[in-house]
Structures are given as C-alpha cells and as structure tokens.
C-alpha cells in the first residue's frame, strides 16, 4: 500500500498523542471512513495492569501477584528480544481493601478518578480511597497529561454471568476495540463482549480512565472472596493476549479494520424495595438469573417477589441485560443494567513509524510556537 507523506490532523489541543492520517485523506467519523485507510497511533510504550481495585475480586489480585513474582524473568526476556521493550507496570490498586478481602475500606476506589476527585484539595479527613486514587494518578497519570500511561488494563470480577467483558468509555478508541477483537479471535471458547459506557471523558470516574487508552477487563461469574481456577485462567490468558497485541502493534503490524459488536449502556433497573426499610422485596427472576446478554423483551420476567409474584419488564425497547445480580450493585441501586447492541466500524490501525512520530512532534512544536 502506498503511504503518502503524513498529514497532520488538527486534534483537540489537549490530546498530545495526535492521530496521523497515513493516507493523506481527511479523518471522518469512524463508521463512514473508507476501509483501506490505516490510522496510525504512537507506540504503546507504557502499559499498566492493575488488580485489586476492589479488594475482594480475587482473580486480578492473584494474577497481579503472580505477574509481580515473574516480573524479573519477563523483563529480561523482553530486553533480549526487543530494541525498546514495553514497560508493563503491575499495580495492586487497593492494598488495604485486599488485606481485609473487602471491596473497599471507606469508599469505592473505582469511582474516585474524576478530575474533581483527583484535583480537589486534599484534607486529613479524606477517605482512604481518595488518597489512594491521587497516589495512583501520580503513578499512572496524571490523567489527561502526556505523561500518562499509554494503556491501562484494570482487572475485575463480577458475580454476574458475563463471561469476559471489556468495559470502556469510548466506542471510538480504536486501540481498545482492536485489542478486544484480537482477544475474541485468539480465545474463541470464552464468551466475550465489549461494553461501552457513554460517559463523557471529562466525567470519567474509573481507574482505567487515567491512561491515554484504558479499559476494565471484567470476568464472571465468580463470587467475591473466591478465586475460581477457570476464571483465573481466563484472566491470565486475556492479559497475555493484551500484552501480545501491544507487542505486535509496536512492531508495526497492520490490524485490519471491520465491524465490532458493541453493547452500549442505556439504563439501570433497581430492585423493588420496601418504602420504609429500603430492603429489597424481590429477587432477580429465575428466568433472568445468569442470562446476561440474552435479549430482554417487553413483558419478559424481571423479578420474583418473595410472595411468588412475577414482575415484568415494562420498557418498550428490547435490550440486552448485563451485571445481572452483581453483589456490589445492591447498594448502588442496580439489579441489572441494560444495553443496546450496535455494530461499530473500526478502521485499520498501525503504529506510527519513528519518522511519522518525529514529524508529529515537530508539528506540535510548531503549533505551540504559533
């Protein structure tokens, strides 16, 4: 394929890792662009893999511990193979919660990464997790700056029967979408979905939003406080393939575009509750239990009350349920979440060459000088 001279696109000034349009044509909305265009991104030199963001989600806890043990061996091997090795930062995000095998100590760490939370003035009475989120932001960010990790992969478990899910804020982060596609193809025996939370970047609240690219890898079903060997193995293989993809990407592989199925979050539904005590008065209906990502149609069973009555879905639009009966969401008022299924066209991508990267940087400098 003929590669024309790079042409700089004018991204929002905030983004330092600009996308270089290799074919010389204008970048259009993802689903309108022509399939033979290849979008180029800077190297993913710094990757973080985080476990224990919730201290009782044990696959990630044990996996990161094991990876830390093996770290020396891995680094040495990479140095022998690559000229510029990928640096993989392994993080145990919430050590105090891990020690107590609880989701959190004071407050949910994975909601403490909004810009407001990270940049607010610290105080002595701050919850532990607020203090920790600022430490993690210093280590892996700062969020929104050029120093931030290129990719953050945050490991989670759920009690819901969700298989392996990527959870991301964007449905146009081509790096994350290509990563997902790669895993889907490499691990066909694990059901895999890409969940898109349509939250504006400036309101993003989770740990993975600290990196330039980021996603949560959520695997279930697994009870909190338990490690199931099949779930652990799925996570281990998932992370291996993520790092493998990064390596291929950095080595110049062109990843062909195409369609990816994405589930975009639409709304949550809470349990029916007692007006006085706020206790739940029904459980997820047996016909819905464990049926994440099975289409929920109007009038389908949702809940079964303790007196045996079936409560039905009253929405007009058939949607896809997920996080069905996730333990940690009872207190957040969520019995299940609902998503719309869409096909997203992703472009082909590859890493910027050094020449392109330098031209890119010169372009930025000259923009700044202007």
């Amino acid at each position: 394929m003929q590669i024309d001279a790079p042409h700089h696109t004018r991204d929002t000034p905030r983004k330092r890792d600009s996308v270089v349009q290799c074919s010389g044509r204008e970048v259009l909305e993802g689903h309108l662009m022509e399939v033979d265009e290849v979008m180029c991104f800077p190297r993913l030199s710094r990757v973080a893999v985080c476990g224990g963001t919730h201290g009782n989600e044990l696959s990630g806890v044990y996996l990161v511990r094991e990876l830390l043990k093996a770290e020396k061996k891995v680094k040495k091997k990479k140095e022998e193979e690559d000229e510029e090795p990928v640096s993989v930062q392994l993080v145990l995000s919430n050590p105090r919660a891990m020690q107590q095998c609880r989701r959190y100590v004071d407050t949910d760490l994975n909601r403490c990464f909004t810009h407001a939370a990270l940049n607010g003035s610290p105080s002595d009475s701050d919850p532990y997790e607020m203090i920790r989120s600022r430490e993690l932001n210093a280590m892996l960010g700062p969020k929104g700056s050029p120093k931030a990790m290129d990719l953050v992969c945050d490991l989670h478990n759920t009690t819901a029967n969700m298989g392996l899910c990527f959870i991301a804020y964007s449905d146009s982060d081509w790096v994350c979408l290509h990563l997902f596609r790669h895993l889907q193809r490499r691990i066909p025996d694990i059901p895999m979905r890409y969940i898109h939370f349509n939250v504006a970047r400036k309101e993003s609240y989770s740990l993975d939003s600290v990196g330039k690219h980021g996603f949560a890898m959520e695997i279930g079903p697994q009870p909190h406080g338990v490690v199931r060997s099949n779930i652990y193995t799925a996570m281990k293989v998932g992370v291996q393939h993520v790092l493998e993809w990064v390596h291929f990407f950095n080595s110049g592989t062109v990843f062909e575009g195409g369609l990816v199925e994405v589930f975009t979050m639409v709304k949550h539904i809470d349990y029916p509750r007692d007006k006085e005590t706020h206790n739940i008065t029904a459980a997820i209906h047996p016909q819905l239990q464990d049926r994440d990502f099975c289409l929920l149609r109007p009038e389908d069973a949702l809940f079964q009350t303790f007196s045996g009555e079936t409560l039905r879905y009253k929405g007009k639009e058939p949607l896809y349920p997920f996080f069905v009966n996730e333990c940690a969401y009872y207190e957040k008022g969520i019995a299940l979440s609902l998503a719309r299924k869409r096909q997203v066209m992703i472009p082909s991508i590859r890493v910027q060459t050094e020449q392109e990267q330098q031209a890119n940087e010169r372009g930025f400098k000259s923009e700044e000088e202007e």
Binding site: H224, V226, R228, S229, N230, I284, P286, N325
Partner: protein, 312 residues
C-alpha cells in the same frame, strides 16, 4: 404405654429459625425478615416458631461478622465470660442468644433451632447434623429427604472432636444447620431462596406431625461424616499458591480418589490428592474458609440407623 424399640421425646413446641448468623448469607436474612413481618407461613397448630436475626450488626453491614465469627462463638468460655460491653460484639450476642434460647445444655433450652446459611460451594441443599445419636433430628432429616425427592438434600455429620465447632444452633436440644449453595456472599438468588424455604416447610410439617402424636418408624439415613480439613498449598509467608483444580471445583459430594487432581498452581501445575482411600469432598472453595485454612473438607459415606420415635 410405649412401643418397644421406640424412643420417646417431649413435644417439640419451642422452635426457632435463625437467619443472619453470617450477615452476608442472604437467603436466611431474607426469609427471617419476611417471617418476622408475617409469621403465617411458619405457623403450625402445635408448634410455636420464632424467627430471629442472630447478628443484626453484621446483617446491616452485609458482612460475615463484625469482630469474630458468631458461628464459632458459643464455647463454654465465651458463654460465661465476664466483661459485658468490652467483649467482642459476637461474644455479647452469643451470651444474649444463650439467655433467650438456652441456656445451652439445660432443660429450659429451645427444642429445635434451624440455623440458615449459604455457601459459595456447590453443595446444593445440605442439612448439618451435630450428633449421630440425635434420633429426633435423624428422623426429621429422613422425613425432609423423602418429602423433597426427587430433589436432593444431603446430610453432613460433623461430630469430629477437633473440627466440630460451637454453633449458634448448639444452644438448642436439637440443633439443625441448613446450608444451601452455591450463592455468592451478599447476593440473593431466587432458586436458592426458594429451595431453603421448601426445606423449612417440610421441617416444620415434621415437627407438627410429631407433636400430633405420629409415630415415625425406624429408618436409615445416609450421612456424610466429616473426616478432615484440607488447606490450600501455601508458601512460607502463608500466601495461597494454588487454586482448587477445575476438576474438583463444583464437585461437592462426588468421589475424590487417590491420585485425582485437587489443586492447580497459578502457573498451571496439578497437585494430586494423596489420601489412601476415596473420600467425598464438600465445602469446596467456600469464600469464608480461606482465612480458616480450609479449601475443602473430606467426608466418608455412612448409613445411620434411627429407631422409631414418638412423642412422650
């Protein structure tokens, strides 16, 4: 006149159902809360059943316990310990429960206490028996098993001198543990909840029939007797270095033979069961037992014989 070979017991009129002994085991919490609001379902003509939340603070925080495991707290030392408010919360609770439903070992103690639990293990419905000589309980368990057939309800006998523990239900003359799984902590699964409810219905029916004067003929009851506790392999710092093997995971009550896979290290190596004979494992991968150094317990199958019983 008493029938020869028949054991007689006083009418079992004082019965309690405990929920929330572990505050995050949701079936029992939910059932007891339901029945505290409306006792109709658990009422019988000749049985007065009291639903009771044993560990309200743990229930409120949706945690197993606040200071210490309530279901290990009913030791003689704890029950007689002085110190009042300075004692750990669960020890105070144990003393309170012993006052209301005991005293343990005395004639005033409640006749029967059902203690409701959930487990992350794939144990299905399990009745827990604390003494192989408790004829009343054996007959009740036989009745329940027959009533729910073809659905299954197995009986776990924990009479092991070292592994037996001081449960909340042990305050009663006839303590009955009811463990239903698999269910994650903090989660309420509809099928698990309904299964527990049905078992309790049959249990109360049995007591009602007994109190009405029905004689229950001799029966045999298959039980699984606890043999030993097997811990996870750990390193020198006490950290777990292997997980329950995929072949064993969810295999509660199925034979584990010498040489069968038991654990899988984090880098994929298999550790095999080294026992000398086939055992029946249960409580496989129970969340709460990681800190109690237990990956699973082994049991052996036994058939117990219970003589006929009737009320005195």
């Amino acid at each position: 006149m008493s029938f020869s070979g028949s054991a007689s017991f006083a009418e079992a009129t004082r019965v309690a159902i405990f929920g929330g002994t572990h505050g995050n085991e949701m079936s029992g919490v939910t059932l007891v809360n339901l029945w505290m609001k409306n006792k109709e379902e658990i009422q019988r003509k000749r049985v007065d059943t009291e639903p009771f939340i044993t560990n309200p603070r743990a229930v409120e925080k949706c945690t197993r316990y606040v200071d210490t495991d309530l279901n290990r707290a009913f030791t003689p030392e704890n029950l007689s310990a002085p110190g009042g408010d300075d004692l750990p919360y669960e020890v105070q609770r144990a003393q309170e429960i012993n006052r209301i439903f005991g005293p343990k070992g005395s004639p005033e103690a409640y006749d029967v206490i059902f203690d409701l639990h959930n487990t992350t293990s794939n144990m299905g419905c399990t009745l827990i028996l604390e003494s192989s000589k408790d004829l009343f309980n054996l007959q009740m368990m036989n009745y329940i098993k027959k009533a729910i057939a073809p659905a299954s309800c197995l009986v776990l006998l924990n009479e092991h001198p070292l592994l037996k523990y001081s449960t909340s239900r042990s305050v009663a003359k006839h303590p009955v543990g009811l463990e239903v799984g698999p269910q994650p902590q903090g989660v309420l699964r509809s099928n698990i909840f309904e299964a527990m409810r049905v078992i309790l219905k049959h249990a109360l029916d049995f007591i009602e029939l007994f109190n009405e004067g029905m004689e229950f003929p001799p029966c045999t009851v298959e039980v699984f007797r606890v043999l030993e506790r097997i811990d996870y392999p750990r390193d020198n710092n006490g950290n777990i270095i292997a997980m329950v093997h995929p072949n064993l995971q969810d295999g509660d009550w199925e034979p584990l033979n010498p040489g069968d896979p038991m654990f899988q290290t984090f880098d994929g190596k298999t550790i095999h069961y080294q026992g000398s004979s086939t055992v029946y494992p249960t409580f496989i991968n129970e969340a709460a037992y990681y800190e109690k150094q237990q990956a699973f317990v082994t049991t052996r199958r036994e058939t117990l014989v219970a003589s006929a019983i009737r009320k005195a």
